[in-house]
Amino acid sequence: MNLLPFRFELLWTDALVWVLVAAVIGYAVYARARPHLRAPWSRVSRSASGMAAAVILAAFVLAGLLDSIHYRPALPPQDGKAAYATELRSLLDLTLQPLRDKREKTYSAPLATHLYAKETVLLPDGREVREFPRLRHGGAHLKNPAADWAGDVALRGFRGLAVALLIWFSVALALSAAVAQRSGNGIEQSWGDIWRGRTAIPWRAALCALAALAVFAGPVIALAPLYHVFGTDKVGQDVLYQALKSIRTGMVIGTLATLVMLPFALLLGVMAGYFKGRVDDMIQYLYTTLSSIPGVLLIAASVLMMQVYIENNASLFPSSEIRADVRLIALCVILGVTSWTGLCRLLRGETLKLRELEYIQAAHAFGVSHWRIMMRHVMPNVMHIVMIALVMDFSGLVLAEAVLSYVGVGVDPSMISFGTMINSARLEMAREPMVWWSLAAAFVFMLALVLAANLFADAVRDAFDPRLVRAGAVA
């Protein structure tokens, strides 16, 4: 009995991603009502580079979240029972259906109408010729590609750009209206204020970032249904599709790796600093030992062992998507174990300082239990370190994923990620003629994601680090 034409499927990473989203929303609601938690975030919102980065990041997060709702499409019922496809799809796949399904035979250049390699084609009259065959989908609507192609691409690209800019303009106008309402000035006045950078929140930077996004996305969206905007790879898959799918992998690793180990780092770090003495010695020994193993080697050793485990227990993982997903979680945990030691050390140092303060001494005198002091009095005061570590680690982890996939200890080879994209594309550089578009697409998307993450992390660090705030570095 099932009326829906699909069945939702919750992967492990999906569950963790949505727990994270719920936690972020919960934190936002909690922090909104408390001025001391709201203050650093309003400092973040006053940083121009931070706001611009946040706009770009929001676009990436949207793609990542769409890609984190999975389902199985229904097949025609068999024997009266509902049947579902074995292949998992996500909402992003649904949005990108044309990109996903329009497969070519092999390489084709960005926006091309013909394949990148010559093939022997059988003509209707029985002769054989070597030529570049037409693509099955890319530019298939053109009758005479040689003459129409440039005009068609320019027209469609321009139309997309115009629509995107129109949308952007209305967003900007709506924003001025909102600013006008709040300040009590007219819309015209607010518009001028925004563009002269006179608003408290740097809307100009955010709008510039949004404009950059529109200029890029507009033509791409307009052209993508009819062409392969970033070309196709060796097996004829659209490179733009791969780049968009890579976003989720990168974001999952960037967030979950820190998140998975956060409870341990927090608990052990605070315990070491709070109890000192023998507990401290034990915990220090633990993290010195872990951090003395060079990161890549520890990761490689752990991932190798995980691979062996998965190979020998293949029956535990019913489909390749689930196996890839479990590997991704395991990779996050392993990355977390290696990045955990730094945060633990910082928390220990901060707790050592805090425990000598008078309010903790007072809590002791009142007979508050150790556990309660750590939870109620120490933890809230080290949270800024956790927040800084969370955002600072993100970009490093996204970059690490690419390197690890190259080394062969990254995500499952069947999972689309920036690492697997670069890895399969790097040999194509040596090919004659060269295939450069896979690398270019991975480069552009990765740079945008990591750069935005770095800029946002800097803004967060500047706003949360009490040393910088006191020194007046962020006015």
Binding site: Y285, L286, T288, T289, L290, S292, I293, P294, V296, L297, L298, A300, A301, S302, L304, M305, M306, Q307, V308, Y309, E311, N312, S395, L399, A402, V403, Y406, V407, G408, V409, F418, I422, R426, M429, A430, L439, F443, M446, L447, V450, L451, N454, L455, D458, A471
Partner: protein, 325 residues
Amino acid sequence: MTGYLIRRLIYGVFVLIGVNVLTFALFFFVNTPDDMARAQLGAKRVTPEAVEKWKQERGYHKPLFLNEKLSGIQRVTDTVFFDKSVRLFAFEFGSSDQGRNIGYDISTRMWPSLAVQLPAFLIGLLVYISFALLMAFFRATALDFWGVVLCVLMMSVSALFYIIGGQFLFGKLWNLVPISGYNGGFDAIKFLALPVLIGVVSGIGGNARWYRTIFLEEISKDYVRTARAKGLSEARVLFRHVLQNAMIPILTGVVVVIPLLFMGALITESFFGIPGLGSYTIDAISQQDFAIVRVMVFLGSVLYVIGLIMTDLSYTLVDPRVRFS
């Protein structure tokens, strides 16, 4: 001071024991030698005899901790734990799962690694610190601002792109150096130039920014104001006072990596085909050679511990407070 160093040394040995036990648990408890044999042999050829033979050839057939069949000291020494873990402390690395002598491989392969890493490290240090000093000298000007922008931009690019881009530009487009390969003697220079250059360039972003932060933190201290109040020139303040006092945070991050230079860089060596320890490790990973990976983990931590002790020693050179305490 000597007492302190001896304590650190003993602590280092304990850390190594911890690493050893950890890797042993990782390699022999998460998966048994039987699992490893099955993974290595591939699904088709797995028979109980083949698994037993595989284990026999590599010495995994012995009991893990205690050999009940033998007597005396051999009860402990003729075990997997003793052979594969305890012997590492004597630098007896044994043979790889493919049957090669790991100790010999390491002793020949560490030199090419060092030949890439040492110049990259030294030139890098010079470049990063000069760049950071430049930004600190012109702090809060346009030069500083765009310098930081450049740093953030450069650190947002994956190391893989630096290598691929460098190989494409210098090797393929301009034909200045061979794309990959290695040769001994003077010939090595043309093979090493590009990996060293890329090693330096790819690190500029993160490192220069980090050193700049250290310098700026030093500059905001009181003794700098005193030095300026004495009428010293800004250049003298920066090079004579700030640089010297910034040595401690710099040494903390720098000295510890010196021994690790022997280990080489994984992806650089594999891209450039340099027969060093980095590419050795990558090959071991792709061939699932557990023995080599285990040895490299141990070797890496030994070098790290040596680096930590060297860091302590280096403080005594730059900080008289440490020397006399």
